[in-house]
């Protein structure tokens, strides 16, 4: 027999449609409640408020009211056009209604005696009933306080508005200003009357780089992800949050092997890379990272797989010429539709923007293999924390696609050494290949070793390799040398080593 478990009332949430935010908030905004969205100037508060309504209309036809205390409706309509939102069309369709409470610059207003904001309340109620709105945004509370002398009246009236919206079952956002990124929640003590749910938007200057983050500070009676999550504003799409901890590690693990594009390397790895694994190739400049990448892509194309290369260090021309020099015809691969090369300067955009763009390209091209040469170039444009988040997010995204990813990382020193990239990524990768210079008897030679190969045995030797017009050729192990990986190779008598 079943025992009946009582259903406790749960706070329902509605998906905002703001990508990433719904994950961070474990399902969206609390339904029928007011959420305070607080941020400094330029933290994308107004955009958040607009997007909340725009997504509602586009995704589920939810009608929305925009109460503006600051900008005039005409300005808002114009400003969001570039994001692809046609407010005018929505107004005509009866899906969007402005309540224009922006200050009238021409008319002076004098206060004499007691008053309340009954007219505003009546206008909001009227607007909600006119189009059957279920979403409402108010932007911004600071501007209401600027219009009236008595802050106490404004506070109590805003409280009245939020409780009426609750009765009307309207899910709403109120934006408010902050003066500091880390400090009081909002000016004018507004958090005290809409304190149930607070989202903070930040726009922090860190090490000369702008970094936008969002944080859910509180969500009364319901769960959410904790901490700051980076987000970016993309033209044509608006706010995109990049949830890290909200992502689940649920990718499958495959036993299918794919070729690295080099037979000798395949056999070192115990028969090739796994189809859905992330491989890190690390080494100093000139040790052959781009070559490994090129062969990896060629190996895919030879088996009819689509290959995608993100190049952050070399131009398209250079890459094609390099490949040509190793006997690989990138042009033919591209013409057959099996190769796509995307070159970008790391400095051209913020890391968050790069990430969004890379994800878009991956989703669109649907590659079987992805190479990033080099991942460490991205360290230049980010803070250490930002870079780590980027790597984690990109790795998990690629793993979700269940395709193979090869990342290269440039070590800062020519001999030995590790890079920041390695320490961030090594635990996330399934395989690590080290490429090293080996100085012996007055000449520079190159060595390769497979350091890690998750789920498989692999060759533990450090093999010498040469590069010529037909690519990489692995040779014999450095049997009589130690200290290669540490960067100070020393010759040791062979028989001593083998004892």
């Amino acid at each position: 027999m079943f025992t009946h478990i009582p259903n406790y009332p749960q706070i329902e949430k509605i998906e905002t449609g703001i990508k990433g935010f719904d994950l961070i908030s474990n399902g969206g905004l609390p339904k029928g409640r007011t959420t305070l969205v607080s941020g400094t100037a330029g933290s994308a508060k107004t955009l958040f408020a607009v997007q909340f309504l725009a997504e509602g209309i586009q995704r589920s036809g939810d009608a929305g009211i925009f109460v503006t205390f600051e900008e005039e409706p005409a300005d808002i309509r114009r400003n969001v056009k570039s994001l692809g939102w046609d407010i005018e069309a929505w107004e005509e369709a009866g899906k969007w209604l402005f309540v224009d409470a922006s200050p009238d610059p021409g008319e002076e207003q004098i206060e004499s005696g007691r008053y309340d904001l009954g007219a505003l309340l009546a206008r909001i109620e009227y607007a909600v009933s006119r189009i059957g709105a279920t979403r409402l945004s108010m932007d911004s509370l600071g501007a209401v306080f600027a219009q009236f002398r008595d802050g106490a009246i404004v506070r109590s009236e805003l409280f009245r508005i939020s409780s009426i919206l609750r009765q009307l079952k309207v899910t709403s956002i109120m934006t408010s200003e902050r003066t500091q990124e880390y400090g009081e929640i909002a000016r004018f003590g507004v958090e005290e009357f809409v304190a149930d749910n607070v989202v903070i938007l930040r726009n922090v200057l860190d090490d000369e780089k702008r970094r936008r983050t969002m944080e859910i500070l509180k969500y009364r009676g319901t769960s959410h992800q904790k901490g700051e999550f980076p987000f970016t504003v993309v033209s044509g799409r608006g706010i995109l949050a990049i949830p890290l901890s909200a992502m689940e590690l649920k990718q499958k693990s495959s036993n299918v092997r794919i070729s690295s594009g080099n037979d000798a390397l395949d056999s070192m790895c115990g028969g090739g890379f796994f189809r859905d694994s992330i491989i890190l190739a690390s080494g100093a400049t000139g040790t052959g990272k781009t070559l490994i990448t090129t062969e990896f892509l060629n190996g895919g194309a030879k088996h009819g797989e689509r290959c995608l290369l993100f190049a952050f260090e070399e131009s398209r021309e250079q890459l094609f010429r390099n490949a040509d020099g190793w006997g690989i015809d990138f042009e033919a691969m591209e013409a057959s539709g099996l190769l796509k090369v995307v070159c970008a300067y790391p400095e051209a955009a913020s890391l968050e923007d790069h990430l969004i763009e890379m994800k878009d390209i991956i989703e669109h091209f649907k590659p079987h293999r992805i190479a990033v040469d080099s991942l460490s170039a991205m360290e230049r444009v980010a803070t250490p924390k930002g870079f780590r988040e980027f790597v984690i997010s990109l790795t998990s995204f690629i793993k979700h696609q269940e395709v193979a990813g090869l990342f290269t990382s440039t070590t800062p020193t020519l001999l030995g050494g590790t890079s920041v990239t390695e320490s961030h990524i090594s635990t996330l990768t399934d395989s690590i290949i080290l490429l090293r210079y080996v100085e012996m008897n007055g000449s520079m030679r190159r060595g390769l070793t497979v350091l890690k190969m998750r789920g498989s045995t692999h060759d533990k030797d450090i093999l010498e390799f040469n590069i010529d017009g037909s690519g990489m050729h692995l040779g014999n192990p450095f049997r009589d040398v130690t200290g290669i990986l540490a960067g100070n190779p020393r010759e040791t008598p062979y028989d001593f080593h083998s004892l």
Binding site: R114, D116, A119, R123
Partner: protein
């Protein structure tokens, strides 16, 4: 023949409550004292005419708009203080 009306006033209120009634009475008293017979006062209930409130961008109630003589002025409050109401209309002559 020219109209005697010189003062065109619009008053926005919400519903009818003792406070609203009192504000209307106070305003009428001021008008009768200062410009008897030459004013027009239109009282608008925001609840029955929300579209008009939207058009006029009314937030607070009571709100008095002195439309004529120009310049137009807005006064919010309950008109309990005659001097400040007249000052607000730009009519206080010292």
């Amino acid at each position: 023949m020219e109209s005697k009306t010189q003062y065109h006033l619009k008053l926005f209120v919400v519903g009818s409550s003792p406070r609203t009634e009192q504000a209307i009475a106070s305003l009428k008293r001021i008008c009768e004292d200062e410009f008897p017979g030459c004013y027009e006062l239109v009282v608008i209930d925001v609840l029955s005419q929300p579209a008009l409130a939207e058009e006029m961008k009314i937030l607070a109630t009571p709100t008095l708009i002195k439309e004529r003589p120009l310049p137009a002025r807005r006064i919010i409050g309950d008109f309990s203080d005659k001097e400040s109401v007249l000052a607000g209309m730009g009519l206080l002559v010292r």
